[in-house]
Amino acid sequence: MSDTPKIRIRDLHMAFGGNRVLQGLDLDVAPGDSLVVIGGSGTGKSVLLKCILGLLAPQQGSIQVDGQEVVGLRGDELEAVRHKIGMLFQSAALFDSLSVWENVAFGLIHAEKTPRKEAREVALRRMAEVGLKPQVADLMPAELSGGMKKRVGLARAITTEPEIIFFDEPTTGLDPIIGAMIDKLIVEATRAVGATGLTITHDMASARRISNRMAMLYEGRIIWDGLTEDVDNSGNPYVEQFINGRAEGPIEMKIQDHFG
């Protein structure tokens, strides 16, 4: 049974009214993998993660987490699946009415009913792992810089030791040095809790640092996936255009089609 994928998606369709965002997407994430899904802005990368978390209900298709179907799941069963998954949001999404340590310890206190004192100690350890000093613990999120917010968000995502961690554009909006630091922390933290990683980004440098596998999302489907070291020889014109950041190529042709 060890080859049951951690996440297995088949023929996923998700539309908002007439806006068909995902159109028959297939994807497998094996246990222990760090898969990065690359794709342009607005191609539905965040929508994909929200479908897996059960925050959006797809019109058609199947999503399995550890072999369990998630689409249509409700109540306690859905919450049990969510408990396996940690997520770092694009804007960190820290709770701004709670202090830093309460943010980090949130899953322990509320989902696992850990006593607050104990939860605080675990939170401080997690914060140390992502390079945050104990003095930060009692600050409010509004007092932090963007890079520090990301670190707190990362610490919050790993405190409950989830089996799967999602990263939504972890480096977007950060300067290259802080971005590289966050990437390093993501790799270390994921390894430390032994989690499977699924990252979405349009930052190729970051994607190469984090991933051992990559997949490209385009027009609602995964049009290429493979090992990270093969991405430069994919032979796929869309992938080549994207990773080299060229203005000319099949992707631009499509954009012109839309306006023409």
Partner: protein, 258 residues
């Protein structure tokens, strides 16, 4: 005919859809108020926010209302030499109507708006999604504590407003209109019926629920950044105010129309 009916029909459908969505939201919210787990910490914080910090504005509203009520009744009743009815008029108007309605409207402006803004911001900055990924139900953690606290706290606020309002009437009557203080108080107590105060407190509980419901509903469904949050805030206050005034009529009719 058709061009007139078409937009009418469409508006009606949109209205039905909104009403259905609100009904579902209310049902889910209430069911989470009744089932564990509860978040006592969150409820206490809301009680403090809604109750304690609303005291100044509700107190000021009540005292001026009581004062003006005494003054206006005097100018009216002096024409019939019926000045002795003033204590009665003041206490009945305040406990039955003005206490709950004015406190409700003030709290809707203060607390309903703040709830919509806070929950709306949490929605557009993905904090509500983050709650869900941390296996915490936003209905339980965000909405139920607000509904419980508001329903519980508004009657207490209104009781305090009643007392302050009557005191306002007393001040004006004794210092300005020449009433005897002891007579004013004994008249007030003599005429007051349990039903007057009780109906006001029932109104207060209903208004508290409506204020929190509108704040949470509009915040929870806000879309599209700062502008969406602004619209949610306005909608929360306007819809809560209209609901307060219409439910005020319905409850009054249920209590007193015989």
């Amino acid at each position: 005919m058709i061009p007139v009916l078409q937009p009418l029909g469409r508006t009606f459908l949109v209205f039905l859809e909104a009403a259905g969505r609100l009904a579902l939201f209310t049902g889910e919210a209430v069911s989470h108020c009744l089932r564990p787990p509860f978040y006592p910490r969150a409820v206490l914080r809301q009680i403090l926010d809604i109750g304690y910090y609303s005291l100044p504005v509700v107190g000021l509203t009540a005292i001026f209302t009581g004062m003006v009520l005494a003054l206006q009744s005097y100018t009216g009743f002096a024409r019939f030499s019926a000045e002795s009815a003033i204590p009665n008029v003041v206490v009945v108007s305040i406990t039955r109507e003005l206490g709950p309605v004015l406190a409700g409207l003030m709290v809707a402006g203060r607390v309903g708006a703040a709830m919509a803004a806070e929950i709306g911001t949490m929605r557009v900055t993905e904090q509500i999604d983050a709650l869900t990924t941390l296996a915490t139900n936003p209905f339980k953690y965000l909405i139920a504590p607000r509904l419980i606290a508001a329903t519980f706290v508004l009657p207490i606020l209104v009781l305090i407003a009643d007392i302050i309002g009557v005191f306002g009437g007393y001040l004006v009557s004794t210092y300005k209109l020449g009433f005897n203080g002891a007579t004013y108080i004994s008249n007030t107590i003599e005429f007051l019926e349990f039903q007057d105060v009780f109906s006001g407190l029932v109104k207060a509980a209903v208004f508290g629920f409506l204020i929190a419901l509108m704040g949470c509903y509009n915040g929870f469904h806000s879309r599209g950044g700062a502008q969406g949050v602004g619209a949610a805030t306005t909608n929360a206050v306007v819809s809560a105010s209209i609901l307060i005034l219409s439910f005020n009529y319905l409850i009054t009719e249920a209590f007193f129309a015989r």
